[in-house]
């Protein structure tokens, strides 16, 4: 792990520890828990899309597998939540292998459509397999897990729990990126032929990172089920898969921090919009929650047209600029710290 990634991770840990002291409102804490759940799925997706260069518009399906696996095994079969989570994770791995081996031979548009089709099938099954999934009415009475003997009952506890998992996820992702395997993944993104000529089993590597991203998504789904205590097919239609891609793309595809930024920003966007809508009403504009979809679409389009690297690089540039501004002394005139800091950042992260 590179120095500033460790620094970022420590900053994140501190922020997570402090946040519940600042935000005492359970509603906003809940929003941050959902942000954490989306972040987890997005970190996995970012490794698949940003680092290995393989698109998937079907990861909502793996979240659904995690959620339904955990929901069914705990609520209907009274398994321990941990065991249920592990078993649904294994199921996600198996599905990722079965889907990934044929699908990852496809490229670009074809891969995108195949994964989207897969997500659609999973959604149809979740609605139609009433005996297993409860159909449209879903599954209720999913328990919270216990950790070290404590039931994760309050939102504050669950907030710490979810974000601890997110931090572990980021930690693993950074370790992987700067390893033999991670370099292999980035290499096949750059040139599949060259990667193969250096001995990297290209297809197997794509399948491996697909599996890994499915694991992240599945854990996110399990934790979601345990948090809300009931699940139905509603949240897992293909627009959720599209939303995950949107989060990663808006934040910045080529960087784990970007995916995290995108996930947090877009997860909190509805809260922000409902907050803003009070002010808009003051100006005579009636904003309804139904317009959220439109706003998401416009943000995504704007980012793709004007900031194709996502908002994170710009954000980082701005932060570096501010730091440079503070460091600026009359003699050095900021030239040393500003641009060089910026260059060092952009050189490493890709």
């Amino acid at each position: 792990m590179k120095g500033k990634n460790s620094a970022g991770l420590i900053a994140l840990i501190l922020a997570v520890i402090l946040l519940p002291y600042i935000i005492t409102n359970d509603y906003y804490l809940g929003a941050l828990i959902f942000a954490g759940l989306n972040s987890l799925a997005c970190i996995g997706l970012c490794m698949l899309m940003g680092y290995a260069g393989q698109i998937s518009i079907g990861h909502g399906a793996f979240v659904a597998i995690g959620a339904y696996g955990s929901g069914i095994l705990t609520a209907s079969f009274a398994w321990s939540p941990w065991l249920a989570m592990f078993c649904s994770l294994i199921m996600a791995v198996v599905v990722a292998i079965v889907l990934g081996i044929p699908a990852l031979r496809l490229k670009g548009h074809y891969l995108a459509m195949a994964t989207l089709g897969f997500a659609s099938i999973v959604h149809v099954v979740s609605v139609a397999a009433v005996d297993l999934t409860g159909g449209p009415s879903g599954i209720v009475n999913i328990p919270r897990p216990k950790l070290f003997g404590y039931l994760l009952q309050t939102d504050t506890q669950y907030f710490y729990f979810v974000w601890a998992v997110v931090i572990i996820g980021i930690y693993c992702a950074f370790n992987l990126i700067d390893s033999r395997v991670g370099r292999g993944l980035r290499a096949l993104h750059g040139s599949e032929d060259a990667a193969a000529s250096l001995g990297i089993p290209v297809t197997w590597y794509k399948v491996q990172v697909f599996i890994l991203s499915a694991v992240y998504a599945s854990v996110s789904g399990s934790l979601y089920a345990y948090y809300v205590n009931y699940i139905d097919p509603g949240p897992f239609d293909i627009s959720y898969s599209v939303l995950l891609v949107t989060m990663v793309a808006v934040g910045g595809l080529h960087n784990i921090w970007g995916a995290l930024t995108g996930a947090i920003v877009l997860s909190l966007l509805p809260e922000f919009l409902s907050f803003v809508s009070d002010y808009l009403r003051f100006f005579g504009i009636e904003y309804q929650q139904d317009y959220d979809t439109l706003v998401y679409g416009l943000i995504l389009l704007f980012i793709m047209l004007f900031l194709p690297e996502g908002i994170f690089p710009s954000l980082r540039g701005a932060v570096a600029g501010i730091i440079a501004l503070f460091k600026k002394t009359p003699r050095m005139s900021g030239q040393n710290s500003g641009p060089i800091a910026g260059r060092r950042f952009s050189g490493h992260d890709k």
Partner: protein
């Protein structure tokens, strides 16, 4: 009626239903192919053209009570304008297109269209009068809606217009030249940028027609775009991407297979059937059932 006859009637009934849907998939697939041939892009907003067509037609005929023909023309024009705007505002300005970026851009357009459709037409599904009588016709015990006949007839007209346009008009021939070799076409003086815009216009137009003719039977709502798009893409791949005659045959075939699956296996899983077929075709024979394997090796899948 003896059991064998009853079975036959069922079969014919499923067949009619399949053709009705299949015609729509065929038209969506033709829309995919047009943009794909001109740009190499798979337009993830293709299904939204169909939704827009359907919803606009509902407003014009049911709320404004315009005559069907006039409403038809206005609706198609409206969606064509949307298609052209999409190309001008979101595809044309991209200077360094990567596949991923283009995919996400068309996804963004589909989200925006969906959001806008929800804003204007609400979340409910919209009913629209059939073109002629809604009374089913009897066909040896099975029934067929007059609207289904309209759908088949209009598909045939669209295909005829398509064949005429691409084979007998100068613009159509230019578009074909562009899709075969864009650089050579440009050297021959064809404005390839304009051809790209035209492909979006035509593709949106076909989508609109599909939406208009199917709405009386399915009741349109703003969420239908993704599924229509996916199944239409399934038809396009089944027929060999870029091959529009293949797409028409594959679309109808897909519709029939879907209806048979829904009838004989399970209607709950109906939507999954076409998608499972799509995945199998992609995994086993991405050049489609009508594409040659020789051509397949030259393409990047």
């Amino acid at each position: 009626m003896n059991p064998a006859e009853a079975n036959l009637v069922d079969l014919v009934q499923f067949f009619f239903m399949g053709i009705q849907r299949g015609c729509i998939y065929a038209m969506v697939a033709m829309g995919f192919n047009m943009i794909y041939n001109a740009t190499g892009i798979i337009n993830f907003a293709q299904g939204e053209f169909v939704v827009l067509g359907g919803l606009m037609m509902v407003s014009l005929t049911m709320a404004l009570h315009l005559p069907i023909v006039l409403a038809f023309i206005l609706t198609v024009l409206f969606v064509v304008v949307v298609g052209v705007l999409m190309e001008r505002l979101t595809i044309n300005p991209v200077k360094q297109p990567t596949v991923l970026r283009l995919i996400i851009i068309t996804i963004a357009v589909s989200i925006i269209t969906k959001g806008a459709a929800m804003m204007f037409w609400g979340k409910g599904s919209h009913y629209m009068n059939h073109f002629s009588s809604a009374e089913p016709l009897d066909f040896h015990g099975a029934t067929i809606l007059p609207q289904t006949l309209w759908i088949m007839g209009i598909l045939l007209l669209v295909v005829a217009a398509y064949v005429f346009f691409f084979n007998f008009t100068m613009t159509g021939k230019c578009m074909r030249a562009c899709s075969i070799n864009r650089d050579a076409a440009r050297l021959a003086g064809i404005d390839d940028r304009k051809m790209v815009m035209l492909s979006f216009a035509l593709s949106a137009g076909i989508g609109a027609v599909a939406g208009i003719i199917i709405t009386p039977v399915i009741q349109m709502d703003y969420t239908r775009g993704a599924m229509l798009g996916l199944k239409g893409f399934g038809a396009a791949v089944l027929g060999g991407l870029g091959n529009s005659t293949g797409a028409v045959a594959a679309g109808v075939l897909l519709g029939v297979l879907e209806a048979l699956g829904a009838g004989y296996i399970s209607s709950h899983y109906m939507d999954a059937i076409a998608l499972v077929i799509l995945l199998f075709v992609l995994f086993i024979r991405p050049s489609g059932i009508f594409g040659s394997s020789e051509a397949m090796r030259l393409k990047e899948f």
